[in-house]
Point group: C2
Chain length 357, copies 2
Amino acid sequence: MKRRSVLKVVLTSALIAALSVPAVATADSAKTVIEGLPMAARAAPVPAGVSPELAGLIESRQVGTHAETPSSTKQWLALQAEFDAASLQGVARLLEMTGAQFAIENVAGVTTYRVTPTTIDPRWADTVFVHVHGGAFVFNGGEAAMAEAIWMAHGLGVEVVSVDYRRPPLHPFPAATDDVIAVWQQVIKDHDPAKVAMFGTSAGGNLALSTVLQLRDMGTPLPGAIMAGTPAVDLAQTSDSWITLQGLDPLGAREGVIEGTFDIYADGTDRTDPRLSPIYANLGNMPPTVLLTGTRDLLLSDTVRMHRALRAAGVAADLHVYDGQSHGDYMAGFFVNAPETHDAWRELNTFFDLHLE
Amino acid sequence: MKRRSVLKVVLTSALIAALSVPAVATADSAKTVIEGLPMAARAAPVPAGVSPELAGLIESRQVGTHAETPSSTKQWLALQAEFDAASLQGVARLLEMTGAQFAIENVAGVTTYRVTPTTIDPRWADTVFVHVHGGAFVFNGGEAAMAEAIWMAHGLGVEVVSVDYRRPPLHPFPAATDDVIAVWQQVIKDHDPAKVAMFGTSAGGNLALSTVLQLRDMGTPLPGAIMAGTPAVDLAQTSDSWITLQGLDPLGAREGVIEGTFDIYADGTDRTDPRLSPIYANLGNMPPTVLLTGTRDLLLSDTVRMHRALRAAGVAADLHVYDGQSHGDYMAGFFVNAPETHDAWRELNTFFDLHLE
């Protein structure tokens, strides 16, 4: 046996020290503006690790500035209507592409859309998935709610009930989760909850998690599994990737419209309330949860933070990160038939097959 | 039932269109320099999602410039000696912190270090893990090899054999994996291979994967599981996060010394050779593999690409991404007793417990 001792230790990490030679800081001027590590301006070419189909999508991408942030209820309603109408075009295209059908159903007083794909996978024949749409809590209402529901229904061959929950500015927190809870309680009258998945992306990921947390606290039977796609889980603090990846994601920035949507959604409630920001919740006994994100996703940090918190609480949580993808691009790839989208469907099928009874 | 049709579709993604209003491109001048999405200069504050201990580490961080790239064998050897000596200080500190002991053993003609922690976990009492050190293929030889071996031995309570493989500039590819293969063949004479994990970080992750791929092709019994920490899996192409996250990671940049190490390691062999770049390999029948990385890791993209490729090949591969961590920081946190490091040990214990027989 041999043992060494040292008199002087200068390294914070042997590995890192071995790979780089620290130099004096060079960005004192930048540090006077914002404290932090300086990132120089650059251009980010199409990532090496993406399919030609996704590369084409990224190449055509323009990361624009946001609309002006509304300052009145009237302005919010106008922007909401504009966005909903634009999203509805995408929904119409998805219906045409897939041949999926939908029916409008009033469930417990809440408008829902039952989306039926052309083919049902036998393993999902006796169940339905519950969809909570994204759109920063404010956008994608009415039939525009269905985009991700169609994506899931078509990709997995499963019937989906999409919840057209009430939204700000007229209906702030907790109207949205109240509506999802009401629909859930109705759905489980006809279905074994352990065979039902709840899913959503972005604000929809937040709402799916928040709804299930509340169901857990109410003692209501829970979904057998959750998909939280690039979920906005921290409305109180700005996670790192909102800053580090800005410029790469068509989502734009948190400042402005998105921060405004968080504001009118919270409507004065403390944003660290776990019903608003699931990252602050006690996550014990949550159902198995699969999370999706990308390396150019402004919500990469929110997503990985949630994954870690779920795992630390003992939840069976899986994480899939797609190289070069921005916010929700696993769905955007649907429009160009990207292999990454088929990969996401495969992972979701595998996960739900494992965890839904 | 209700169905809509559209005459004109302008959206590439309903979700994204709902959250941002595309504007005209503003960065024509940047595009004349490098084709790609423009990222503006910024400063990245300490991430919201990290522990106070890791925050302290990040706050004290200076992302420096690299040493000059050597242009002769003599210069490479000098830089190698300098780096090895620096890393050895870290190893000495880790030995002091942990009380771990080590013995130098010649195994099949290869120098190895058998690292024994103060306490062995009963579940790992009858096995040993094989460690392949990192350091860009060129650095961290001699006793400096042991840093991660000590980290693993102490964190999991397992005996570790760390391979001091031959390195460039004197011994390019395939000397390193030849050495690891030789050690492996000796180790499995005394241990059930299904109970042995092989692990490494950075270049060590590459070498662990490459070694096991070659063992598979040779028909040699494989390790029961692999840990590939932030592995450099693509020496041919520059994955996206090398560019997008530059400035945040003490690793610095790929250009310069690191690209130079890849060059003297490959020594003229085509870098898309899967023995050099495992991302290009057929990955069928690889053992369960756990991958670790962080949102500020220049090898984030390499890591998630490998995770996806393994999953697509049907391998049981798990991914853990730590918010705000740069290259190998799950180990760097060891020096400040960060909760993230304990979390990594917990995940590794769970993974190996599940997959090692």
